[in-house]
């Protein structure tokens, strides 16, 4: 490079400079992007680990002013909400994905469904919250765990549909033809052959959707509402980890801030585990059967 710089005209020097400037800027941009991530993680671990103890997982929140207390009810509440959400989101999402990949391939309807799913993915979660509030909370007359779960479940559907479709499309046609050639009914072939072949990929897609809604707060504020006490009833307001973090973070009490950090650390660990698992499975090859 140095030789070239001497050899050619000033214009060439400018080009050399521009090239290196661009490289430097791209590297700088990458560093600037990674910096906040590192900052967030370091801070989370630093703040969260120091306040994480057994009580956090076993006790319910104490009233303001009393030290200690935990988020056991919020962890259980999140589990209940996510169970409802998965019961709704996973079957419907996989069904939609099967339709897109197996039955509607190339049709206008399938394209429209795919497009709508992508657009629905970008609709703010708070809007989903309003819709579920007017659909379930208003007729019922009170906040409930069930409505929160439905809200999260609806949010899972587009993600699960799209990933299922993508995974099913990766199953080679020869597998389908072999099943049909043996006289297996089409529905049976889709469920036990195609879907089973693609199952690791489909499961990772579901985990991804799961991880996404696990951290959602906005749709829960006026559906699940949050609860300071033990409750696993589907008909009552229920606590949720992200909701509790939010309430504690905007409170003026140091003790609650501490718990918020601990809660955030737990939430992040769960999500990072899910994402890493997804990444690991994806890198191992999505389909175990087909090669």
């Amino acid at each position: 490079m140095r030789e070239r710089k001497n050899q050619y005209s000033a214009r060439s020097t400018m080009r050399w400079l521009a090239d290196h400037l661009a490289t430097a800027l791209a590297v700088l941009a990458t560093i600037l992007v990674i910096a906040p991530l590192v900052a967030i993680f370091v801070y989370l671990i630093y703040k969260g680990a120091s306040s994480l103890n057994l009580a956090f997982f076993t006790q319910i929140p104490k009233p303001v002013g009393e030290p200690g207390g935990g988020m056991a009810n919020a962890i259980v509440g999140s589990a209940v909400l996510l169970a409802i959400a998965s019961l709704i989101g996973v079957p419907i999402g996989i069904g939609g994905g099967i339709y897109l990949a197996e039955f509607g391939r190339g049709t206008k309807l399938a394209n429209a469904v795919r497009f709508t799913a992508d657009v629905l993915n970008g609709v703010p979660s708070i809007v989903m919250g309003i819709a579920v509030y007017s659909l379930i909370v208003v007729p019922q007359g009170h906040f409930s765990a069930f409505s929160g779960g439905v809200g999260l479940g609806i949010m899972m559907i587009p993600t699960v549909t799209r990933t299922t479709e993508e995974m099913l499309l990766m199953v080679p046609n020869a597998v389908r033809e072999a099943a049909l050639g043996l006289g297996v009914p089409n529905w049976r072939s889709v469920l036990s052959i195609t879907l089973k072949t693609a199952s690791p990929g489909v499961i990772t897609g579901c985990m991804l959707a799961f991880a996404r809604v696990a951290g959602e707060t906005a749709p829960l504020i006026f559906t699940a509402f949050g609860n300071q006490f033990w409750s696993v009833s589907l008909n009552q307001p229920i606590a949720a980890l992200p909701l509790q973090i939010y309430v504690y973070a905007i409170s003026p009490y140091d003790e609650w801030h501490r718990l918020a950090w601990a809660g955030a650390l737990v939430l992040i660990i769960l999500i990072v585990l899910a994402v890493s698992l997804v990444r690991y499975v994806a890198s191992r090859g999505i389909l175990k059967g087909a090669s």
Partner: protein, 378 residues
Amino acid sequence: MSEIRIPKLETAAPPKMETASAVSSSAAAQSSSTPASEIRRFLHSRGNSAIADRAFSGLMLTCALSIFGIVILIATELVLRSQLSWHKFGLAFFYKFNVDPDTHLPTFWDPVSGTFYALPFLYGTLISSLVALVIAVPLAIGVAIFLTEMCPKFLRGPLGFVTELLAAIPSVVYGLWAVFVLVPLLREHINPVFMSVFNNPAVVKLFGWTGLVGDTGLFGGSNYGLGMLAAGTILAIMILPIISSLTREVMNAVPNSQREAVLALGATRWEMIRMGVLRNARIGIVGSVILGLGRALGETMAVAMVIGNRPEIQKSLLSLGYSMASVIANEFSEASDNLYLSALIEIGLALFIVTIIVNALARVLVWAVTRGTPARVQ
């Protein structure tokens, strides 16, 4: 494939189109020994799977159509429940305000007196998203360029993973971090720098005519740390991974022959990126930026925690504001009367329509580049 269980069937039963060849060959083999009617009777006695197949595909179709159902359901609920506010205020909801007769200050949002005009929320959402785009777009494109064109192979995987992780962090954790780390940082270190530059007498003298500097400019007023700039910064961090991963996808879709052609003409690497890659990918990059904008417009929790939650319109980026999503999050569960609730739902409806349009536009643009057609030669 060994573990896949094939259901035991004695004959090839389903008379499906896909299996036509298999069925006809086995039928032909049998028809030599038995009359055709007997085979037909046998197949009938086994039942055929047409009914089950049709039911199954119908069920799957229902699942797929449920996505349309959700969109329609959301839209109708929002429209129906916002009727009250729509009838009371009409379109003026989005641009009017009352002026206080004593102080001559505008009043936009006062639940006590029943004044509900959404202008400050539109303004807050728009400005915070614009600040986010100004910060995020150059960085995201820089990262995408680095990862697709310059990065050594061994770094590509980990760095891609890290940007993916940024996308997986929940909004409320970003908010928590912003409240306790970003806001103090802005208040103590970054805002004073901006203020000293923008409010410098010499700068004011030179650029005072633009209205962007001095006490009434972009960095005038008091420095709380919270406010538009804080909201824009945290939004930028949140939308970065979305923009950069989509931009990467778009840039990867540019065929290598384009790069090779430009390099063969003696271009430097940067010229190759500029002429061979960015120019071919620009529509998709615009699409990914718009998609990031869509995310920023609808982002709720992190913004609600740092924007300051004050329904006012001020030019300064340091001033407290409010956004459409965060006003819904903060006030929805305490909205006491129907008009208040209806006004909040109307804001939600506006947000829904805007994000649908923005997302649809972005998807079309990204799809235009990544759909597999070779990039156009400029």
